[in-house]
């Protein structure tokens, strides 16, 4: 059993009106040292797989099919074991190829 956290962000060049509005509000509140605000989504879920490679494959397929819009979004994913230790990390930017950084 694993836990997956998927972070979905807008592709770099796509305009983020929400990020723009948050940044100007932070400015008005005096946070002049905070900038370049960009917003995205995070999705947590449990992955009922016994081995790490199966878990990675399953999550990659879910991201490609549903969780991230390939036209406008990239995603990064971290997989944790039951002890909460990170056992894998991969992202769409590498053409979806999974890079197991088992620690």
């Amino acid at each position: 059993m694993y836990k997956a956290r998927i972070e979905v962000t807008l592709k770099k060049k796509i305009l983020d009106p929400q990020g723009k509005a948050i940044e100007s509000s932070l400015r008005n509140l005096g946070f002049l040292k905070l900038g370049g605000v960009r917003t995205g989504k995070n999705i947590d879920m449990s992955v009922n797989e016994s081995n790490i490679d199966a878990a990675i494959a399953l999550v990659t397929s879910a991201c490609a099919k549903l969780l991230a819009n390939p036209v406008t979004e990239d995603y990064e994913c971290e997989i944790f074991d039951e002890a909460g230790k990170q056992v894998a990390q991969f992202s769409s930017a590498q053409g979806g190829a999974s890079k197991v950084a088992a620690k």
Partner: protein, 232 residues
């Protein structure tokens, strides 16, 4: 000459400001003016209206940015001193973000924006906004929102009940509180509440959109009327 002046705050992105202005001005023919969010004075207003709309595009959280507008400092101290404040839809969201009312407005449980007429049952008449209604009376008022799902933790809810602060609940035409009549998943079908001191009301339904029969219902006029009449 009826005393009392109504002030409708305009945030960048408010889009029901003129609807409120016209409901008080041409339907109830009261003195009403618009208050730009950058102002630092309420200009002698006796009733402050935070209108519906998408202040700051509803970015981050509905009302999360508008609450920091310069005029909100004035509105908070006006309310603390007992001044009457009505927050409608986005206005209600600004009031909870500003801490003038308890709880929060989350995303509608069906994840969809919903615009339709709904029935509201009056839960308390001991407020300046519902003095013209009878307990249990049902009025037809439209809603139009995507984040109207009222939430508060258990003891806040208990506090609202114990202090008779729940003003309106979503109901059937016959006044029953049912799951089907709840359009957004709000706890206890809550559609509107008042502050502990009973001078600040927040409600998701739009009374200013139910001020003329021509537009489908005048069931909301009594709320605006009660508020201005309590100023005399």
């Amino acid at each position: 000459m009826t005393t009392g002046k109504v002030g409708v705050v305009v945030f960048p992105g408010s889009n029901c400001d003129m609807d409120a202005y016209n409901a008080f001005g041409s339907v109830l023919n009261r003195r009403v003016e618009l208050l730009w969010h950058k102002e630092t004075s309420l200009d002698g207003v006796d009733l402050v209206v935070l209108p519906g709309g998408f202040s700051y595009g509803d970015y981050l959280r509905s009302g999360a940015i508008a609450r920091f507008s310069p005029i909100m400092n004035e509105v908070v101290s006006f309310a603390r001193k007992g001044g009457l404040v009505i927050g409608i839809c986005n206005g209600f969201q600004v009031l909870v973000e500003a801490g003038l009312l308890p709880g929060a407005l989350l995303r509608n449980s069906n994840l969809k924006f919903v615009c339709k007429q709904v029935y509201l049952r009056t839960e308390t008449t001991s407020t300046p906004f519902t003095s013209g209604l009878k307990k249990g009376e049902v009025i037809k008022v439209p809603i139009a929102h995507g984040d109207g799902n009222y939430y508060a933790d258990d003891n806040t809810i208990k506090g609202l009940q114990d202090n008779d602060q729940i003003v309106f609940k979503y109901a059937t035409a016959a006044g029953e509180i049912t799951a089907e009549s709840n359009p957004n998943g709000s706890m206890l079908n809550i559609a509107g509440i008042v502050s502990r001191e009973r001078n600040v009301i927040g409600m998701m339904p739009h009374p200013e959109r139910a001020a003329e029969k021509l537009l489908g219902s005048d069931g909301g006029l009594v709320v605006l009327k009660s508020a201005v009449e309590s100023l005399n």
